[in-house]
Symmetry: C2
Subunit: 449 residues, 2 copies
């Protein structure tokens, strides 16, 4: 009775703010992650993973109202209040509190995983996206700050960028100046005002600082002077050092910046890729020392594509053990979009460069044996599964993005040769087909490399 079983079709669709990754996009993302992982590995960062679902009280921690509102949360079948992770920092803090005794410090970990936020999708944001974080936990030595900057530098080189710039700041510089000016207790209000600098201009920010803190205009002016310093890194550093000279905290911040810049220079990072930028106020509530942001030369408007900094106490909500550390987060989705826009993605719908049409079904075993030989030689190859007309099979190969087709019919087998067709140019060459396929392997490599 199977034929009479009718049903209404369910409309196939994804939730608002969620998306499928088709082969080309998924392949590009995989490649990007592979390259990032290779850089992490090269510095000794190891992967970890944590659950997508956690106890709500753990995820909420000291979270803001906005985070709470955006978090996917529900009661599970066992009556527990649970949430889906909305970042990788809270899970890292929980993980570190739970396992650091066993793992020991310093702990260098990276974590590439999906997070969920029920954000307003009108701003073009997705509700499901991948984060890619790396951190060094349990050290307060500046050598970890230097290493973090070097990792960021290597990440962008590995992804194929040359024109990018890492912006550096140190939270202690502003703290020091505010201490000197007697404005330390107003830090949050001042940061909120400074955050609008690019948008509303110096005059209005100054007025806002005065209004919010009741300080002299002169003091507000000094704060603004710090954030508006321009010149070479050396010039800015000298000016910063002078501005914060009266505060021990400030002097320490300036000294850390000096050592960080000197180390990057010593290891050969071009100065054009490093910018001392006292205006970056990113997460100044959270970070306590070095701060990083990274901008692409070709697309500065998309904002920072790799940000992070140093913190004094990662896991204070979950453990009494003080865990200082430093880390950064690579903006995978933003980078993928940027690389697409800059035409830097080379991925196709197929990972196989070579294509063997099923030209003569009776020869299937021969095709399969040849394909196995090519795979032994690390050449990815697809054998078409249907005995369609050759033209149709080649059209499929073209569409999928295979680079070269290997055409073998009775004539070719009789002559012990293979027609090697470059799918980009349409040109075909006869290549001798030996027992070990050596000529064919060389011909394919010659065409695709």
């Amino acid at each position: 009775m199977a034929e009479s079983r009718k049903h209404e079709l369910i409309q196939p669709r994804t939730l608002k703010g969620f998306r499928d990754f088709q082969p080309r996009e998924a392949g590009a993302r995989e490649e990007l992650i592979d390259r990032a992982r290779a850089v992490f590995h090269s510095y000794g960062f190891a992967p970890i993973d944590t659950p997508a679902l956690e106890y709500l009280e753990i995820l909420q921690g000291k979270g803001s109202e906005e985070t709470d509102k955006q978090m996917y949360q529900f009661e599970d079948a066992g009556g527990r209040r649970v949430g889906m992770r909305f970042d990788l920092t809270v899970p890292l803090a929980r993980f570190a509190a739970q396992h650091i005794g066993q793992l020991g410090t310093p702990l260098k970990r990276y974590h590439v995983a999906t997070v969920w936020r029920g954000e307003n999708t009108q701003r073009g944001r997705f509700r499901e996206f991948m984060q890619c974080d790396f951190d060094t936990i349990g050290t307060d030595n500046l050598s970890s700050d230097i290493e973090t900057a070097l990792v960021i530098h290597d990440l962008f080189l590995a992804l194929g960028f040359e024109d990018f710039r890492i912006h550096l700041n140190n939270r202690k510089v502003l703290t020091g100046l505010l201490e000197t000016l007697g404005l330390a207790e107003h830090a949050t209000a001042i940061l909120r005002a400074l955050d609008k600098l690019a948008k509303i201009g110096a005059e209005k920010v100054q007025a806002e600082i005065v209004a919010a803190t009741g300080t002299e205009p002169q003091a507000a002016e000094q704060v603004l002077a710090l954030c508006q310093l321009t010149g070479t890194n050396a010039e800015i550093l000298d000016a910063v050092t002078e501005l914060v000279a009266d505060s021990e905290t400030g002097r320490r911040g300036a000294e850390e910046l000096r050592r960080l810049l000197a180390a990057l220079d010593a290891v050969g990072v071009p100065e054009a890729r490093v910018k001392l930028d006292v205006a970056i106020a990113r997460g100044l509530d959270y970070y306590t020392g070095t701060i990083f942001e990274t901008f692409l030369g070709a697309l500065p408007d998309i904002g920072s594509v790799c940000s992070g900094g140093r913190y004094d106490n990662l896991a204070e909500l979950y453990t009494k053990q003080q865990l200082p550390g430093i880390g950064a987060s690579l903006g995978l989705d933003r980078l993928l979009a940027a690389m697409e826009e800059l035409d830097m993605l080379t991925s196709t719908e197929t990972p196989a460069v070579a294509f063997i049409p099923l030209f003569d079904e009776a020869r299937l075993h021969d095709y399969l044996r040849l394909a196995a030989q090519l795979r032994e030689a690390a050449i990815c190859v697809e054998v078409y599964p249907l005995p369609k007309k050759l033209g149709q099979q080649l059209k499929y190969a073209d569409r999928r993005g295979h680079r070269v087709a290997l055409i073998l019919g009775d004539n070719e087998f009789a002559a012990s040769e293979c027609q090697v067709k470059d799918l980009a140019t349409g040109e075909a060459t006869a290549v001798p087909l030996e027992e070990n396929a050596a000529s064919l392997i060389a011909a394919i490599r010659g065409l695709v490399e």
Copy 2:
């Protein structure tokens, strides 16, 4: 006033049935996935990804009551009924219905992703685990069945197994016999009885079939005879062919098995790794042709570690387009546990083979420059971030699993050499330190390869 800010600590813990992956475990899983992906790529399978959350009606489809009960489901902030995916098959069906027009067939995709099931954890199962599926959609040609078996074979070789066996069956064989015996309408009841064969024995199964179908004991005996065939693959195949000779469906099933075995033999898959096993009844409700299960020689009791088969219509709930296909699923978690038990995992807590202690903090720039040179040569190296005593630093390196320590103090720099310490043996050798670090790179490679 920061010091006086007191708070109750939140207990760091994971939900029941969920777990953290620490560096060693996460590294092992990453390596396993990398190897599987390389095999998928070598056959032209491309990655896709789908959302963790889907409309509940899509995930429920024609799902069983058990699936519904196990699914994590809730109402999102927009009032939609949503669920977390519990496998990768339903999302694939939805994905195919939605995108196949654009992507075209055959579509060869793999998908490695996390799924969630609120299972009873007492059976040692996790509520969050990773699946690794690959499928060829939109072809009904046996060459895809052959390729699927070859992929399974290559997967286990790539993971380092030699002693494994792919069990093959074809759903049409049993269907054919049941048709001949006039028992076609009782297929489900008979399959349910056959499923208990290993547990309760042939006699009781026969009795159950008779009771459930009202058929003659002789007919039930024939069904059991089919499922209990032993001998070489050729012997079993001959016996099967004879048993199903009166049914066209059955003859087609036997013929497909014959062609599949012949192709695997022709491509060089050792017969010891392939077993014709008419008893495997896996998912017989769902599969319509070839069926696969894979067992490890060293650990047969953990059950099949890679299973799959051919289906006639992947996405019938979501589209009128008929999409036949074939695929299989690699049991990642089970394999990881097996490889751990068989001592096949080589991953350590760090991906870096080399370790440079911060022996003399004043030499940090030199250490960083040397590390950069090694990374250029694809040697992963960690520079310790704290100027602790050398013994402490080496203890850390030993614990993390670094293989070789590169010790450089004033004496070494003065003599232009590096102490290369094999951390396994404790032996140290002085290696000349040239401008391009060539001798050092060669020495490290010699020790770790």
